[in-house]
Symmetry: C2
Subunit: 361 residues, 2 copies
């Protein structure tokens, strides 16, 4: 969607409300419900998404009035301050830009950032525009190297010429141009330490791929970037995590989406993504049993929870993984492969898994 379209969508939202006021009606916004009762796992598309239940928010309703105002004010700030200037603002900044006392009262329009955050998520559902299209950013995180040339704000960036550091992924990746992608696949890993190991070993050069790391949570920016590489460039995406329930969950968010962002699934999930490791089978095959870390009570509870999620429930392979995890009463870290030699991961483990197509779906 072009930028003038984005402004138009918000303008039309405002015009509709003004029309209702002029007609003497109670101004009202109708949009799809975002709570748990309306989040479904669609087995066909294999994504978490919103159902058809709707909710409304009207001005002359004591329970709605403040939220109604907040939604309209945030829409106004986004249109006037962000879309019209072409600039982007962080969630925290939008909060401060919205924070003011309602004239002739001592009531603040917003007191906490959670209020503007919610209004922004509502606007995503109301307008069909993503938060990124509304020019609102969140955490900047992660790095990328490999055989891909990007266009970013007029600069041409060759990610195969960025040394040990790499390209620092911006919070919004929708606007990046994928100028030339000669890589054959993408390896996404949760740990920056592994990224540095593989980058130092020039793994991406020897195996003609792209390396992406998040240094923590998989931000929307990273998810969208991976999705674009999968959809626009038809690249396979492989996810490399620790062999524990948290790694499995990181993978599932990239693949199926998350409850909190079910309304944005279309722009974020990647059904084709595959899990490359570490699996419980690797623990046996690569003799990592002595590096197992005993499960805590918290781990065991989390395994129980995740096992029962709709998107894992019917997945025999993953159920088997969780079962072995419990039987071995252990989890394993990617770094334990270092015990077999500093470059075992880049010279043996990953090439073998990719050659033999040993993935979990």
């Amino acid at each position: 969607m072009t930028k003038s379209n984005q402004k138009e969508v918000l303008e039309n939202l405002g015009k509709k409300l003004v029309d209702q006021v002029k007609k003497g009606k109670n101004p009202e916004i109708v949009f799809r419900l975002r709570n748990l009762t309306n989040i479904i796992y669609d087995k066909k598309t294999r994504t978490l998404k919103l159902g058809d239940k709707t909710s409304s928010r009207s001005f002359f309703n004591l329970a709605h009035a403040k939220k109604f105002l907040q939604t309209v004010e945030v829409a106004s700030v986004i249109k006037k301050e962000l879309l019209e200037s072409g600039k982007h603002e962080h969630l925290r900044g939008v909060f401060y830009m919205t924070k003011r006392t309602i004239p002739k009262t001592n009531v603040n329009l917003v007191d906490e950032q959670t209020e503007t955050d919610k209004a922004i998520e509502d606007l995503e559902v109301i307008t069909g525009l993503s938060r990124e299209e509304l020019h609102v950013s969140a955490n900047k995180m992660g790095s990328m190297v490999g055989n891909v040339i990007l266009g970013d704000s007029g600069d041409v960036i060759d990610c195969s010429k960025l040394g040990k550091g790499g390209y620092s992924i911006p919070s919004i990746t929708d606007e990046l141009e994928l100028k030339k992608v000669s890589a054959k696949y993408v390896l996404y890993m949760e740990k920056a330490a592994i990224f540095e190991r593989l980058n130092e070993d020039k793994f991406w050069q020897k195996n003609n791929c792209i390396l992406v790391t998040s240094q923590g949570q998989t931000t929307r920016g990273i998810r969208r970037l991976l999705q674009r590489l999968a959809e626009e460039e038809s690249l396979p995406i492989y996810v490399l995590c620790d062999g524990d329930v948290y790694g499995a969950y990181i993978y599932s968010v990239v693949k199926y989406g998350s409850i909190a962002l079910a309304h944005a699934s279309e722009r974020l999930t990647i059904p084709s993504v595959k899990y490359i490791g570490i699996t419980m089978d690797d623990v046996i095959k690569y003799d990592l049993k002595r590096h197992l870390i005993k499960l805590t009570e918290q781990d065991i509870a989390r395994i129980k929870q995740v096992t029962e999620y709709d998107w894992f429930k019917d997945n025999k392979e993953w159920q088997r993984q969780f079962k072995i995890m419990k039987e071995l009463n252990g989890k394993v870290e990617i770094q334990s492969l270092s015990a077999k030699g500093i470059s075992f991961i880049s010279e043996h483990y990953l090439p073998e898994k990719i050659k033999n197509k040993e993935f979990l779906e």
Copy 2:
């Protein structure tokens, strides 16, 4: 120091121990104590550093034997696996490379990463080599943009041509080449959101500077990079943090060092660094009082603690800051400047502060 020197230092450490064994002596390593009783704030150099007290670790001493072995084994792993291959490994990887059962016993050489971490810190003190020179890395974090051209592992990286993303700072920055630095100063900020704001506004281009952010803690890699820009390129370094006690502490670590890394002060601290904001005076001057966030009990306790640190105790300006903080009973975030306009920070706040030289030392 060149790489062959680094190997030599470790080899000599080993040779000395072998000599002691051959002479029938109890092998022993003597090095400066790293605990609190030996950490001093040197008023002249304005850095935290180790005093002259020493400690020894010998093999035939029940209390020392395991630590002695760990230190020697880590030294051996670093020499054989890292320095000889020219590769780098993360702290966690060194742990796994060291972890094994001592032959003919059921005792593990190390059970926890804290043991190898300590051994590595000890080796820094013993050898005078930094962890980075020993090829051991830690967290990779942070981004950089601006008028600086780097040499990184054979690649030439122009940080003025990296779009909205920027250069992703590696965990070890000692080996980066500062090829061409035309910037006049460096602005280091704790928050990636502010980095994105300033980068989108091309602040570094308009003001001929370099922007660095850490997205969290100031890693050793970032501290060393800032120090090199200060020392090798004689650039002023300005630190931009939230107006709270945690911001003040972030600044103090960059400037004076930290207790945990007192032994590495020489390679990490930057006495010339200046604090640009946000100050408590800014709260008044820029009318940010309504954006003050009330101090928590934890904040108040931390202010009391930090106020009494040697390196803040004699600093009238900072004492004044903490006093106003307590009087206003509030702290303020950098993002609150957004309430005055999305680019107020880049068009007014920062240029004015720099022009008027309104810094805290």
